[in-house]
Amino acid sequence: MISPHNDDLITIRLNGSEVEVPNGINAVEAAALHGVEVPHYCYHPKLSVAGNCRMCLVEMGTPMRDRASGEAILEDDGSPKIGWVPKPVIGCATNVSPGMHLRTESELVQDCREGIMEFLLVNHPLDCPICDQAGECRLQEFATDYGRGFSRYVERKNVKPKRTRLGPRVTLDDERCILCSRCIRFSQEVAKDDVLGFVDRGSFSTLTCFPGKELSNNYSLNTVDICPVGALTSTDFRFKMRVWFLKESKSICTESSAGCNTLVSSREGKIHRITPRRNDQVNDTWMTDSGRTLFHSVRSENRILRPCVENQDVPMEEAISAALNCFKGKEVGVVASCHSTLEEQFLTKKLIDLTQAKTFIRGHFGEDDGILLSADRSPNLRGALLVNLTNQYPGESLHSLNDAISSGEVESLLVLNEDLLSSGVTEENLDKLPIVYLGTHANETSRLAKVTLPGLTVFEKNGSFINRSFILQAFEQSIPGPVGLVPQVNIICDLINQLSNVPSCSASFDDLWESMNASIEGLPEGLTHTELVKSALQIDRTPWSDMPFVEKEALHYTIEETTVV
């Protein structure tokens, strides 16, 4: 990457005005910091600079210096004499230096943009009405903003393959491709799967996979995101929805502890797609393909939609009292979850303390891909550590719970999300005691539960998670939950209040966060969920520095030396 980022601010002159920008960033970014758009196609802040689209041509000059003495050469009025580069330069490969002058709106620059737009369109098909990119197409946007508005092209357009299957999830239209090479660079530099390339040459260059190979890696859909035109489209999303109807909410991917920032796009309560949201500390602008499919769980068949007692639908209040009955006079065990939000975990801990329950918690692990799918397949294991649900690194099973049931130390259970049967607890043991299950989807455990309390998915509630780098990130609700359902925090709060002599627990996020800030070490005073949605918080990791975290070195994640593996 060409642009080194640092905090050392310098002064440059942008279209005649002096502005401050970080030293060494490129002209496109520098201008953007001051609200000036330098249009571009091939430049992507998270990929190497290719400089091939030429859309970001600007005029650049630097203060002249005397060759021999190195002294600045001055104009008559004492201002530094500027040596303008005779040709326009590409903003993406021009790094700012002190005193640099940039013109992004001059006649020459306008002329360059008009020329490039015309060139990009001469061989581009006019199928915008049926193109999925319409509405978020840079070609359309810049044609409007910087184009000449009429065509001088009377020759035949080049013919290239259309509707090619590039992989299981990506469809390619080569005629729309403007050969910016973003997808190729992404595949090589980020996904480390060098399957894409250009064949043939000149204007006939064509993006393709080698015959028999496919763009099938778990990051393939990022190429769709970064394609500035409609060449690469999501096979799943193709022709489903016009993008301008979609509402976007900030969310966090729950697939693993990587904690990718996402945008959930929905319309009338239905989610249509999940795309990555830029976060330079976490996921840059990427996410996995698998993480994009998680919203399908919202409407999956095994969704728990109503409270149940003994397999009978009941009103929520009834289910809550049934749950309390299960705990009354019993040694309670609570199976907490690394999938719960920090708010839920905090209240769970409160409930545990109140009932003097024994706590059990397991982790979920898988292969680490070294990018954004980490070995810890839960979004909030570190949250469980922070609220002190456990001081041990969670293992992959709940054998200790099985033992505790066998020995009679646990006589009733509250289970959050987990399936106990697949966690080393025997069905025989589970039959011995009443189970209260609080979760979003049915599993073997919920089927054995006496009381089932329905919860909301990550898309239907607010909350926060702590990712593998101990970054506390909040997400917001994208769509309403199923009719009649309330967030898990409300249910846990209800349980707490009904168990307490003085009902003092509030599920309102303002109250909740006030109480969290007061009791959790490391959370600053006055921190709110709303604030967290805007900007994340780095949690000090030292209290857990010798925990055997399973994550491997990956994008924006390094294993600290203190970590015991």
């Binding site: 360059c112 060139f119 061989n123």
Partner: protein, 450 residues
């Protein structure tokens, strides 16, 4: 005849001597590799200094002083330094490097080893165009000979200086003549030229290491600079235009061919009408492209006037243009790679334009937008114009498209593609306008160019 100077063959001194062969014995007998010995007895910096003093300008096309280019080399990076000889000879109208490679390969090898010594390269490459099948074999054989004589490879002439030399074949791409395209090609990638900044070869060249890329003829000159000394060499030719140049004349003259003259010692007119025997019988001169097909065309009846760098005023007809670096430049074109293409009155200028445009459209690597789309568009326009579909507005359109390419591309190919169009259309506008009303060719011409 006017005061026509004699050819002064330095580079091609032996090439066409019937008793001379491309084998090492012959080269050594003629004093070969003595200058490598001399160079190695000097400090590398001293060698560089001689080259700088000689004033030698690159013979590949841009005419940049070679000594200066070497000065830009980043010697502090600690990374290996590479020397590459650009033997891609791809500019249409140029066929000088071929003569050296086929007929006097050791001269190139000696020049390269001296250059490698001067810049500190331990590995050098000759990037040769694939059409020179036999040329690559000749070079490989010559390198083996040189190695067995201790002129190349390990411990050259018994010293600590070692430099291996590898012949790398291209595969038919004009863009590989562009030095960063060449480097990409040599790295086994598509030869897409690199953006500059940051990828100046002298700093971030082959494998991101400091690299010098020089043309065949330039590197051969290094040998002679060491022989004569930089100061003495700089007396050949004219100030800022030192040494000899091998001019390649093609097209419609009686005796096309390659001719080596001191820079500036003769005019374009002398070259065409005296050295090359003039035009074919009954023909008159229409246009000349003075520096390979990407140079701007000159019209036979044009006048060129202005002030030279040294302050002297000039007012030339085409025939008066001195053949050196600065002459064609002053006339608004360039001497480029030394390829002079002569066109007589049988040439349909729109067809000639279409021919040239077809070349650039075919050769554009396709990496950056203006060149990729512009060159093909220009080809399509001129093709259509030659197939009965010419419109009056096409001349202006062509010019506008060319203007949208020039100065906006990653590499100089943009200019190479734009300059012909800009000059043809401007200087022969009537021919382009006329195409719209009549598709007639010049009288009695059966010549087909597209």
């Amino acid at each position: 005849m006017s005061n026509l100077p004699k050819e002064r063959r330095i580079i091609l001194k032996n090439a066409d001597d019937p008793s001379y062969s491309n084998q090492i014995d012959c080269y050594v007998r003629m004093g070969g590799y003595e200058n490598l010995k001399k160079a190695i007895s000097m400090q590398p910096e001293e060698v560089g200094e001689e080259v700088l003093k000689s004033g030698i300008r690159g013979r590949g096309g841009a005419g940049f002083p070679a000594g200066m280019k070497w000065k830009f080399l980043d010697r502090k990076s600690g990374k290996p330094i590479y020397l590459i000889c650009n033997a891609d000879e791809s500019e249409p109208g140029t066929f000088k490097d071929r003569q050296i490679i086929y007929k006097d390969p050791h001269q190139l090898i000696e020049g390269m080893m001296i250059a490698a010594y001067a810049i500190g390269a331990k590995l050098s490459f000759i990037y040769i165009r694939a059409e020179f099948h036999e040329g690559a074999r000749i070079l490989n054989r010559a390198i083996e000979e040189a190695k067995s004589h201790g002129f190349c490879g390990n411990n050259i002439l018994g010293t600590d200086f070692s430099c291996d030399l590898v012949v790398h074949r291209g595969a038919g791409a004009y863009i590989c003549g562009e030095e960063t395209g060449l480097i990409e090609s040599l790295e086994g990638k598509r030869p897409n030229p690199r953006i500059k900044p940051p990828y100046f070869p002298a700093v971030l060249g082959l494998y991101q290491c400091p690299t010098i890329v020089n043309n065949v003829e330039t590197l051969c000159n290094v040998r002679h600079i060491i022989e004569m000394g930089g100061d003495e060499f700089s007396k050949i030719g004219k100030p800022n235009n030192t040494g000899t140049r091998i001019w390649c004349v093609s097209g419609q003259v009686v005796k096309p061919g390659y001719y080596e003259f001191e820079c500036g010692s003769l005019t374009l007119g002398q070259m065409i009408f005296e050295v090359c025997g003039g035009l074919l019988p009954g023909r008159s001169l229409k246009a000349v492209i003075p520096g390979g097909s990407s140079a701007k065309v000159l019209r036979a009846d044009e006048r060129f006037s202005g002030t030279l760098k040294d302050g002297t005023e000039f007012d030339w007809g085409l025939e008066d243009i001195p053949l050196d670096f600065d002459g064609p430049m002053a006339a608004g074109s360039m001497s480029g790679s030394g390829g002079i293409i002569v066109m007589d009155d049988t040439v349909d200028m729109v067809e000639a334009m279409a021919n040239v445009n077809a070349f650039y459209a075919h050769e554009s690597c396709g990496q950056c937008t203006p060149c990729r789309e512009g060159s093909l568009w220009m080809r399509k326009i001129t093709q259509r114009m030659c197939s009965g579909g010419a419109r009056e507005e096409d001349a202006d359109l062509l010019l506008s498209v060319a203007n949208q390419i020039e100065g906006r591309t990653i590499c100089a190919f943009g200019e190479a593609a734009a300059w012909p169009t800009q000059s043809f259309v401007t200087k022969f506008k009537d021919d382009f306008i006329q195409k719209a009303s009549s598709s007639e060719k010049p009288e009695n011409s059966t010549l087909q160019l597209i």
